[in-house]
Each structure stands twice: as structure tokens, then as C-alpha cells.
């Protein structure tokens, strides 16, 4: 590497992984949207043609990002944040409604989704706030500030309604954890989710029995030297049981039927074949079709452009949120595991890069980027393969969509730009 110019110190491993993901994503978009008349791939009336155009735009975005001075992003982080908050507010007045969600500005040639822009801005703003010399994340006040930066856009996006995008902002908690926010908060959250799910599946009585048995086991097998005070433990058990009791109440009285159905499907609560069939045809239709499509791919898949369910358009929204089911059908287990592997390597590489930053801002921003990408990846594929309930978020770099691709790319390349300048930061 020359070490000079905007492309000089770019982390090429990441760039190659990125390019591979975009390329494979486009191949699958091509497969889902190609008709009988094989027109040119540059036919912009087709979805694959448009996506190619978006890829071009994303490349321009990359060039733009790389030519901008690194400090620009740090300095103007607050401005970006305020602009994106204004844009989100503006949606309430000027927003364009697509598929029931008022999430877009109609720019004529392009529908801009400000929630995508806000992801970049919020990551930058959070990094900027946390890296400030005066910020101490261990103090309650600063914890609240950080929470506010994260939750403000999430709250604005929620009523669009776009609960999926809104949920994504919670991924930025990983930045906080990295910077010293107590990890046991995460522990409590996970414990609560597990309690919630197990209560629905087995009922409060069994959850209580399980908790007591676990407590007894811990006391039986702990080393005699380790002292665990008995009262707090009993307190935790009691609170857990109370929580478990409240779960049933919330599930039956606060949730709506469609939510209950989603959980019923997700946790296999419904055993009655007839009702299950009904759910599969209505609320669980997408998941059912997508699982079936993936399943039918088997080990080697049906081959590129040979996916019968993909071609037949059986999986709704397959080119956007359900793009991974096309991989499953046409490329089989080999293809899906390769994509999982590719994503994992990509993320691990990014984490490695983030950890090597000398500048706190760069590291924190990097963590923001990674958290957002991982969260999308987790929720999207989890939903497509039937592990998680239906939440509409795109698969980064894969799913069809201009705003998504361009802002994910900018999100990533701002980080790579920061990384390429890491040696100067010490000066």
C-alpha cells in the first residue's frame, strides 16, 4: 500500500468482504426478480437493475466519504444528529407512506428513508458524547444522557410505525457496555427474556420449580470456601416468580391477538394442527413460506435461478427482508453457512479494527457501526429461519433497497476512513 491518498490505508480485507456480501446479495435479488424475458442487468425498470444503480450510488458515497477529512465526522457529529432528528420529525408532516409506514421522503428519483441516515448520525453522536473528556459513563447522569441520545430517534421512528428500525437503536447499548456501562444490565435483560419465554412455554409453576432446583444445585456443588448469602438469592428467586406471574397477565391482557399469535408460532405454543395451519396461512405466512423455501434447498440447493419457490414468488418480500430464504433455496446449506461465515468474519474483522483504534471516538463509533450491523443481521436472519418473531428489518448489504444499502455503506466506510487515519490520531 502506498500509504498515500484516500484509498491508501483502507482495510482491504473488510472492503473485499463487503464487496462479496453486496455481490452475493445482488445475485439473489436478481434471482428473485428476474422474469421470463431475460433483459439486460442494466434495465432500471427491474429490481435488480435498480439495485445495480444503488450499488453505483453507494460507490459514489464511498468516494465522497474517503475524500472528506476524518475530523469532519467528529466535528459535525452533533449537527448530523440534529439534522436527522429534524428529518424524522418532518416525516410527520411531509412523509410518504409506503406499505403502511410513513418512513420516506419522496425525492422523485429516490425515496429517502431518514431512519437509515439517523443510524449513522446517532452512532456518530453517541461516540462523540462518550469520547468527550468530561463524560464518565459510570455516573448516572451521563448514563441518562447516553440513553437519551439513543432513545430519541427510536421514539420518533416507533410511531411511523417501524418497530423494527426503532428496535435497532437498542443495539447501541453494546457501545455503552464496551465503555464501562455495567454488563449485568445485559445479564438482567437476557434473564428476563428467558423467563418470559419459558413462562409462556411451560407455565409459572415449572419456572418456579426450575429456579428452586437451580438454586439448590448451586448450593450443593459450590466450593465450601465460596460464600453466597442466602437472602439475596431468595429475593432474586421471589422476584423472578413474581415476574413470571406477571408475564401471563401481560400476555393475556396487554398483548393483542396478533402478538399472541406471533409468539404462539415462535415458541411452538400452539399444538392444535388446525389452528397452527390457520396461523401459518395468516400471520405466520411469511415465516412458514420462508422456512419451507430454505428447507427445500437441502444440502446443495436447487441451483442459481432454479429455486421454484423463489421464482414463484411464494415468499413475500423476498427481495427485501426475506432475501436470505432465496440463498437457502438456491444455494442450500452450503450457501447459507457460507453467508453466515462471511458475515461472522466480517464482524470479527470489524471488531478487531475497532479495538486497534487509538482514538476513543473512532473505537466508539466503530462499536456503534458493528452493533447496528450485527443487530440487523441477527434479527433478520433469525426471523427468516424462524428463530425470532417477525420483525421487519433488512439484511445489511443484501436486501434490496437504496437507502439501506447507501447508508449502511456510508456507516461502514466512515469507520474505515477513521481507521485509515488512526496513525495520525496520536499526533
Amino acid at each position: 500500500m502506498s500509504g498515500r491518498g484516500p484509498f491508501g490505508r483502507l482495510d482491504w480485507i473488510t472492503v473485499i468482504l463487503y464487496a462479496l456480501l453486496v455481490f452475493i446479495g445482488w445475485l439473489n435479488i436478481y434471482s428473485t426478480s428476474v422474469g421470463e424475458s431475460h433483459t439486460s442487468i442494466f434495465d432500471f425498470s427491474t429490481l435488480y437493475g435498480k439495485q445495480l444503480f444503488f450499488i453505483g450510488l453507494a460507490f459514489l458515497g464511498i468516494v465522497f466519504v474517503l475524500f472528506v477529512e476524518s475530523l469532519f465526522f467528529e466535528r459535525f457529529a452533533s449537527v448530523f444528529y440534529i439534522v436527522s432528528i429534524v428529518l424524522l420529525l418532518g416525516l410527520f408532516v411531509f412523509g410518504k407512506t409506503i406499505a403502511g409506514a410513513t418512513s420516506w421522503y419522496d425525492l422523485g428519483f429516490f425515496n429517502l428513508q431518514p431512519s437509515e441516515l439517523a443510524k449513522v448520525a446517532t452512532s456518530l453522536a453517541l461516540a462523540k458524547f462518550l469520547s468527550d473528556i468530561q463524560t464518565d459513563i459510570r455516573t448516572g447522569r451521563h448514563q441518562l444522557y447516553a440513553l437519551a441520545i439513543i432513545l430519541l430517534p427510536a421514539l420518533l421512528i416507533l410511531p411511523q410505525p417501524d418497530p423494527g428500525s426503532s428496535l435497532i437503536y437498542f443495539s447501541l447499548f453494546f457501545v455503552l457496555f464496551r465503555e464501562g456501562f455495567p454488563i449485568y444490565y445485559l445479564g438482567i435483560l437476557i434473564f428476563a427474556v428467558v423467563l418470559f419465554a419459558t413462562t409462556l412455554m411451560f407455565g409459572t409453576v415449572w419456572v418456579a420449580i426450575g429456579l428452586i432446583i437451580m438454586t439448590l444445585l448451586v448450593y450443593t456443588f459450590k466450593k465450601a470456601s465460596v460464600k453466597i448469602p442466602i437472602l439475596p438469592v431468595l429475593g432474586v428467586v421471589a422476584v423472578s416468580v413474581l415476574f413470571s406471574l406477571s408475564v401471563n397477565f401481560v400476555f393475556e391482557n396487554v398483548f393483542e391477538q396478533r402478538h399472541r399469535d406471533r409468539f404462539a408460532l415462535w415458541l411452538s405454543l400452539e399444538k392444535d394442527e388446525e389452528k397452527l395451519d390457520e396461523i401459518r396461512k395468516t400471520i405466520g405466512y411469511n415465516t412458514y413460506q420462508s422456512e419451507k423455501a430454505i428447507e427445500s434447498g437441502g444440502f446443495t440447493g436447487k441451483g442459481f435461478l432454479e429455486g421454484t419457490r423463489t421464482k414463484g414468488d411464494f415468499v413475500p418480500e423476498q427481495h427485501t427482508d426475506y432475501i436470505f430464504s432465496s440463498v437457502g433455496e438456491e444455494w442450500g446449506f452450503l450457501g447459507t453457512s457460507a453467508v453466515i461465515l462471511l458475515f461472522s468474519l466480517f464482524f470479527l474483522r470489524l471488531i478487531y479494527i475497532a479495538e486497534r483504534q487509538k482514538s476513543d471516538f473512532s473505537r466508539m463509533y466503530g462499536y456503534g457501526v458493528i452493533s447496528i450491523l450485527v443487530f440487523h443481521y441477527f434479527i433478520n436472519i433469525g426471523m427468516v429461519i424462524g428463530l425470532l418473531p417477525t420483525i421487519g428489518v433488512p439484511l445489511p448489504f443484501f436486501s434490496y433497497g437504496g437507502s439501506g444499502l447507501i447508508f449502511f455503506t456510508m456507516l461502514l466506510f466512515i469507520f474505515l476512513k477513521l481507521d485509515s487515519n488512526r496513525l495520525k490520531d496520536g499526533i
Partner: protein, 622 residues
Amino acid sequence: MKKLLLSSVVVLIGFTFIGRLSYLQLFRFSPDQILDDPAIKKVYDYPERGYIYDRDGKLLVGNQPAYDVMVIPREVKPLDTLEFCNLLGIEKPEFLSKMEKARRYSPRLPSVLVPQLSKEDYAKLQEKMRHFTGFYIQKRSLRYYNTESAANVLGYISEVNEWDLKNNPYYVAGELKGRTGIEQQYEEILRGQKGVKHIQKDRFNRDIGPYKGGKLDTLPQQGKEIQITIDKTLQEYGERLMHGKRGGIVAIEPKSGEILAMISGPTYDPSLLVGRQRSKNYSKLHYDTISKPTWDRSILAQPSPGSPFKTLNALIGLQEGVIDDNTKFRCYHGFYVGNTLRGCHCGGGVRDLNSGIYQSCNAYFAGVFRKIFDKYETTDEGMDVWEKHMKSFGLGDYLGTDLPTGAPGRIPDVDYYDKWYGNGRWAASTIISNSIGQGEIAATPLQLANMTAAIANRGYFYTPHIIKSIGNNGKIDPKYTEPRYTTIDRKHFDPVIEGMANVYNYGTARWVKIPGIDIAGKTGTVENYIRVDGERMQLTDHSVFVAFAPIENPQIALAVYIENGYYGSRYAGHIASLLIEKYIKGEITRKDLEKRMLEKTLEHEYAKPYSGEPFEINEYEW
């Protein structure tokens, strides 16, 4: 810890996903799920059903086009409803309700709007069709009958039912299948093999092209034409003669076992079961439980055969050596069983074999029957021998024809009487009615015709069959070309045939001689009973006749059975002689007889038991 958190999360997610994907794609995957893949539809290409020709190559059954008007509701553009209805020949409300029904079925898939338009309506509609977007005409193939006869022989085709679908994986709901007669028996030959196209569908069930470029597709195989042994002219003529009469006629060519005619009365025009009126007509025929037009009496009716059966008893007597040509029995206008006199109409006196047959003397054959049994020490032995001889004529069991239905008739055996009377509590005299073809014997007209063919051949017959040739190579099942020998030696037939010839010369059928043709025949008059309101009532006797001709080199053997036609020569004998003349000479010389047979009906006889009033049987007036 905090540095490793995110990496651990990424790795954990990766393993979870791979785990779930292995479950889906490796564990739950099964290679034959292409069968229930909703994206792949099989579309069938049906070959034309094979034609059916008679023994001389005359067309019996062909195909005709029919035109269904189809609609795809979503593609329908506003139209001049009134004009369209006029063209289709339906009323506007009917049109609207059919459109609504089609829309409810599916807006995207074609439905039949008006089925089976006639050629004329089609011609009118065709040129205007382009004005009506969303509608199109689909051609279908229906059976076309070049005859109004032979409905029961030819059979009909109808949509497969659930039973067919369960038992034969070839069929798919909505397909047609031969239901009775030839159409059923030679279904696989006539229908051919449908071609399959695998079409890729989208989730709205619209075609989006062939699956795998048509690699799995097959081409349809044309159904083969077949030629049957029926003589179209004879069959049609026989059905005309059966007008107004119930019964069955079977004519066989003795030297080959080919069935020349198989007539059941009453019958129906096979064209009734084709086209728009099909189901209405079918119900009408199927639910006529009194005259039962769909019940083929020629192969399913099993009356007692009556006197024609005497010829077999004579043959058994000769074969067993208990009588010869000159053995004589005295007829006391009947014969004694114990102290009871059983009647006889032969006129009385001394009877030998020849006059026993041509005068149809009951006493003579009762004597023969006793002698057969007397030869053996026990009744059981005698019965076994008698049964063996009888069955060698194809009686008492299914003949093994290539007809989808049939009846076994009955030749009683030791077990049968042991059950009825008790072991050892019966003897030849108990079952003496069998000697004259009454009693417990039952035979279908087909069996009687076959028995006559065996006599005509002097001792053997070919399994009666209806197939003459299949497709171009013409080969048929070899079992129809192998002779089946009876247990009677050839030499014993001549005296019996002489007696049968004298039936025409001096005997019970001397009024129905045909100039120039030597016929051997035997009349039969069969008593019969029914139950009306639980009371056993005798009806007018069934008229039966068997005959073959010419005596040397027989060309036709036939059995005619006319329900309640009274004595053998009255209806059965006349009809038999007309059929023989028609078949051998090609034309009828006795026009007055022909006219009488064509016009006479027995409807008044059939109405008697249902009239609710007292009635006379066996009327002499006719």
C-alpha cells in the same frame, strides 16, 4: 470481558444460525418434497381416445369435439352482456350467477362458463369471441356414437370417482374413465397415456414457464383403436327385434368364440350418456328399477335355462353309456316321482332320443337323469359326475370372457343339496327338475349361447370374447384362441344334433323354419315366480331358444331369452330364426314374420304384477 463481549455474541449467533439451518436443510429436508411443492403444477396433455370398430371395420365409436366457454374473471373487460348471452344461448341472470360463481372459485384461474357448446353455437360464437376479453373457448373431446345400439356392450365413460383415485394412481380428479363394457375392459388401450408437463407457478397460481426447461415432461401416447367381434348389423337388428321386450340375446361364432351380438332389452341409445344432458339421462336410466335398462340381461340375467338343457342331459347319458340312440322311455303325459305325476306336453307315448329332444319330452329326460345316477353306488358320486360334465360346458361358473361384468349361473352340487335337504336326505328323484333345466340350475344367455356353440363344434368351445384386434398388430390374449374341450366325446353329438335339427323339421319349432338353412335348435319354456306383497305368484313363462346354423359348418350359435314370452318358439324361436337368417343370408325373406316381431311388445305382460289387479298368465292370445 467487555472487549470480548461483542465477539462472543457474533460467534454465538453464528453457531445458533448454523444449527438452525442444519436442522432445516439437513434434518428436515426430504428429496421427494417436489411432489408437494406448491410451485410446481402438473399439467396434462390428453391423447385422443381410441376408436372402436365392429368385426367388419364399421365405425361404432369415435370422438367428437365439444366446446367449453371458459372465463378468467379478473381479465374480463366490460362487455355487451345482452349480445354475449344471446350468442351463448343463456339468460342474463344465469350468466351473472355463473360469473359470480367463477369469481368466487378464483378470479385468476379459468372456470367453465358454459360447457359443451354445439358445433353450430360454436361457429356463431367463434368469430365474435375476440370482442369479449377474458373469455375463451376450450376444445374438449367427447365420445361420438355411430350407432344407437350396443350401449351395454360399448359401455360409457365418466369422471373418475374417489374410489378410482384411491386405487389407481394414474388418474387425477376430473379425468374420464371407461365405466362399463368395452370402455372399461379396454380402458388402458383406448385411453393411451397422458403426457405430463411440469409447469412452474407463482403463489397466485399463474404459469411462469416450464419447470427445469421441461426435462421431466413426457409426451402423450395415442390411445389405440380396437376392433370388436360384434356385427354391427346383427346387433342393431337384434335390438330392433327386442323392442318392447325384456330379455337377452347372445350370438357367438362357434369356430372362434367371437361374440357376434350381445343384446339386452330394454336398452338405450349410447349417445344419451354424452354431452350436456348426460347426468339427467343417466339418472333416468339408473333409477328405472323396473325395466333396468343399464342392467345387461345378456350376461347378468340368470334364469333357469329350461328345455335347451335337456340336450346336455342327453349328452351326459350317452357319454356315461347309460343310454344309446334307441333307449326308450314311456311318457304318461308326464312321469311319476313316487306317486305324484309330473306333467309333460309332448303328447305321450314311447320316446327315444330323437323324439325326446324334438318333442321336448319331460318323461324321457327324467328317465335319462335317473339312469345317470343309477350307474353309481351313491347319489353323491352320480352328482359329482353329472356336475363335472355340466361344468365342462362353461356352466356354473364365470366363463372368463373379456367383459367387465358377468354372472356365474349355477350348477348345483353335492354340498348345495346337503345344505338344503341334509346329508343323505336327497336322491336323483328329489332333484329331478334338473333333468329338464328347471330346478336349481341357472345360466346366463351368454352361457346358453356358449353351450350351444360347444354342441355346434361337437365337443369344444372357445372362451367367448368381444375383442377382435387391438391397434395395428392385432394380437389378442391367446386364451381366446385355445379350444376348451368338454368331457363329452365327439361321436355322441351327432344323434343329439339330429334331434335338435328335427326340432325344426317336426318338433316344437317347426313353424319357424328358414328356407334354405339347416338349423339345429331347442325351445325352452321356463316357469317363473315373483313375490308381490310377500305372496308367491306365478308369471307368464319365459320364452327361451337356443340354436345354431348351418348344422354342417356352423357360423352362428345363439341363445335368446325373452322374459314372460311364454313358450319357447313364440318369441324366442321367432327372433332366433330372424337373426340367423339375417346373419347368414343378409336379408329377411319372411317379411310378415319380421314385421310382427318388430311390432309386438310385451309391455302388457310386464305391467301385470304392478297393476295391483288379478291377472292371467300364459295367455294363448298374442
